[in-house]
């Protein structure tokens, strides 16, 4: 009898249910939810400055463009792109700034287009190369002026977009961010007010610009600017001098605005043409000395000198 029971148990002890392999998918290794500083990656120095002013010690700004590169045309390495991908926030200037961004894969949810609020007021650059091929017909590579922060009312909007994004990630720090923004806004408003006054005083006086980066400055503050394609450190060619001479016929400027300190020869020759030089640095990259505010104050002071 015992043997029957034993045999029965042995036979009936088979388990029917075998679980499936189960779902072995591994879950995302999302960044640990840490209360350390937010990593904020930016594409130019003005955004870095705004983020630092607004975020304070709640942010760690990542601005990997080398100091001697133009952030608008710089191409990051793959490792640098990975740094951008891993940031908590990626601040874009908008207006087609940073030519590398459209060709890179960045997480949409982390992107902040700081100039989205005034995208309908971007300035389109004329005289770009168009071409046609195939059945599609003509199409142009549209150019958009991208130094949006030189219109300080726009700079305030960009700073506000940064504030909003930071509050979205750290709502408990809203007061801190608001305070940082308020202080920055006041300074930007002061700059804006001064330049409005300068613009009024200039009253449409013709100006030359060494490079087409002052479109928003000109529009906002009523400056009558005609741009050429010169570099501060390079002496213009004969054709470039000739171009300026031609421009002067219809546009008799007495000042040329430079992005940086011009070559002595360039400045001297311009003087000979009755054109003085002044520097209004767009400050796209981190300055050697000072910061965004000190550079802009110096810019405003340089323009102010025209009014005396």
């Amino acid at each position: 009898m015992r043997s029957i029971v034993r045999v029965g148990l042995l036979g009936l002890g088979m388990a029917m249910l075998l679980a499936g392999c189960g779902d072995g998918a591994e879950k995302s290794n999302d960044k640990q939810d840490s209360k350390g500083p937010l990593t904020v990656a930016v594409v130019n120095y003005p955004l870095a400055y705004f983020a630092e002013r607004i975020g304070g010690d709640q942010v760690e700004v990542v601005f990997p463009t080398p100091a001697d590169e133009d952030p608008a045309f710089w191409s990051p390495s793959l490792e640098t792109i990975a740094r951008y991908q891993q940031a908590d926030l990626i601040l874009l200037n908008g207006a087609s700034y940073a030519k590398w961004v459209p060709k890179a894969t960045l997480p949409r949810r982390k992107l902040v287009d700081t100039s989205g609020a005034f995208a309908d007021r971007f300035i389109t650059i004329e005289h770009v190369v168009t071409h046609a091929h195939g059945p599609g017909g003509d199409h142009a590579h549209a150019g958009t002026a991208f130094t949006t922060w030189l219109d300080f009312s726009q700079a305030i909007l960009q700073a506000d977009a940064i504030r909003e994004a930071l509050v979205g990630l750290r709502p408990e720090q809203e007061t801190l961010f608001q305070e940082g923004f308020a202080a920055l806004e006041k300074e930007l408003l002061d700059l804006d007010r001064e330049l409005v006054a300068i613009g009024k005083h200039m009253d449409g006086q013709p100006l030359l610009a060494s490079h087409p980066v002052y479109q928003y400055l000109a529009r906002r503050y009523g400056l009558n600017v005609h741009s050429v394609m010169w570099e501060p450190e390079s002496v213009p060619s004969a054709s470039q001098w000739h171009e300026v001479a031609q421009i002067q016929v219809e546009h008799p400027a007495r000042w040329m605005i430079w992005e940086g300190t011009p070559a002595e020869e360039s400045a001297h020759r311009l003087e000979g043409m009755g054109v003085s030089s002044l520097v209004f640095a767009p400050c796209m990259n981190r300055p050697e000395n000072g910061d965004f505010l000190s550079v802009m104050l110096a810019n405003v002071a340089a323009l102010e000198a025209l009014c005396r």
Partner: protein, 393 residues
């Protein structure tokens, strides 16, 4: 115990055909309803898990099931496209995290999924080797795709033309494999992931070519009119995006008009979900918003209905088979009456004899149970793949 097993085994071994038939019948009786139940449970899990992780999907108005299947499983039949501007519209609304999907193309039999890097976080996909997508042209392979395409980090894959006579200009794009994902036991394992813009390049909406202003491209220039350069068809277009030529790649037209197949939206909360769905309720809306879980649940209900009928039929057949099996055993015992009587007569213990006979029956049952369990296990293991083949093909 040993002796009982020995005698039982000797009997079963010497009657292989009878034993096999009985084991087979028991296996079927047990496996069919259980295996079916496991398969249906797998179906339920397969169809609902992924759907649950995909709260809302936006797509061009049409079949919700087709949209759901294409979004969740990259099914071959591509639903109509919608403009990329719709994705931007939802993204800008701030109501949800959004991920675009472009699923038109393939690398051989593996779907090319043009998407954003957020997709990987949405699905919890992590890298087994290599790196994430970084620049235009990069591709990251799912674990199975890497195996089927025999490609790994450092290799290249080429997008397949849609048809043999694809002379209209959708050029195959050669893409470097920069990463391979860990196995996720889902449809993502079969995919070739690219940035959405790379998918548009494959579609011919973006391209790179020689700089027409340079002397080397002179033969490609038809004429120049001021700042406008008109090129002829001989201008060299690149079929691979490299660090050297990536700057030349550009898109013509408004990106907002470019096609995508679907947008996956994860609303921030219920209110956001309601608001988002509310936007697309109008009859004149070109866009539909579906909840994949609802669509898949409907599909499941159909499967479950079928299951009920099948299980009923299987149970009835099973009972008949079981009755036949019992009859076979009873008749077999009757035929062995003399053998049993002999054992008793020469002094064998009745209990022992019964134990031997019981062991024979239990062994047959046990083998049937074991086989059924094995088949059930295999069903559980291969169920998801089978479901995908059955439902999605």
């Amino acid at each position: 115990m040993k002796d009982v097993l020995y005698l039982a085994w000797r009997y079963l071994a010497s009657h292989r055909v009878l034993t096999s038939v009985l084991v087979f019948a028991i296996t079927l009786i047990l496996f069919l309803p259980v295996g079916l139940r496991v398969l249906v449970k797998q179906s339920e899990r397969e169809l609902t898990t992924r759907a649950t992780a995909t709260p809302l999907v936006l797509g061009e108005k049409g079949s919700p099931l087709e949209l759901a299947l294409n979004t969740l499983y990259f099914a071959a039949d591509t639903p109509p496209t919608m403009p990329y501007a719709e994705f931007e519209r939802v993204a800008d609304s701030g109501l949800a995290l959004v991920v675009p999907l472009h699923t038109r193309f393939r690398v051989r039999n593996q779907p090319i999924v043009g998407t954003s890097i957020d997709y990987f976080d949405l699905r919890g996909l992590t890298l087994a080797e290599g790196r994430q997508l970084a620049v235009l042209g990069d591709c990251v392979l799912g674990a199975s795709a890497a195996r089927k395409l025999a490609a790994g980090v450092g290799d290249h894959v080429v997008s397949s033309p849609e048809n043999v006579f694809d002379i209209a200009g959708i050029y195959p794009l050669k893409m470097p494999v920069v990463g391979v994902l860990k196995r996720s036991h889902g449809p993502d394992d079969d995919a070739v992931f690219v940035d959405l813009k790379s998918a548009w390049v494959i579609e011919g909406l973006g391209h790179g070519h020689q700089d027409l202003s340079r002397p080397e491209a002179a033969s490609g220039v038809l004429k120049r009119e001021g700042d406008t350069v008109i090129a002829n068809a001989s201008v060299l277009q690149y079929n691979e995006i490299t660090p050297d030529n990536s700057d030349s790649f550009h898109f013509h037209g408004d990106l907002g008009d470019f096609p995508i197949q679907a947008v996956i939206a994860t609303p921030h909360d219920e209110r956001a979900s309601a608001l988002l769905q509310g936007r697309y309720l109008g009859d004149d809306e070109r866009i539909q918003v579906i909840r994949p879980l609802e669509v898949m649940t409907e599909l499941l209900d159909t499967i479950l209905t079928v299951q009920t009928y099948v299980v009923t039929a299987v149970v009835v057949i099973g009972l008949a088979t079981l009755s036949t099996g019992v009859l076979v055993i009873v008749l077999s015992l009757r035929l062995r009456k003399r053998e049993i009587e002999t054992m008793i007569k020469i002094g064998g213990s009745r209990g022992r004899v019964v134990a031997v006979l019981t062991t024979e029956i239990v062994t047959v049952l046990g083998l049937g149970v074991l086989l059924a369990a094995g088949l059930t296990g295999m069903t559980a293991a291969f169920g998801p793949a089978l479901i995908r083949i059955l439902i999605l093909s």
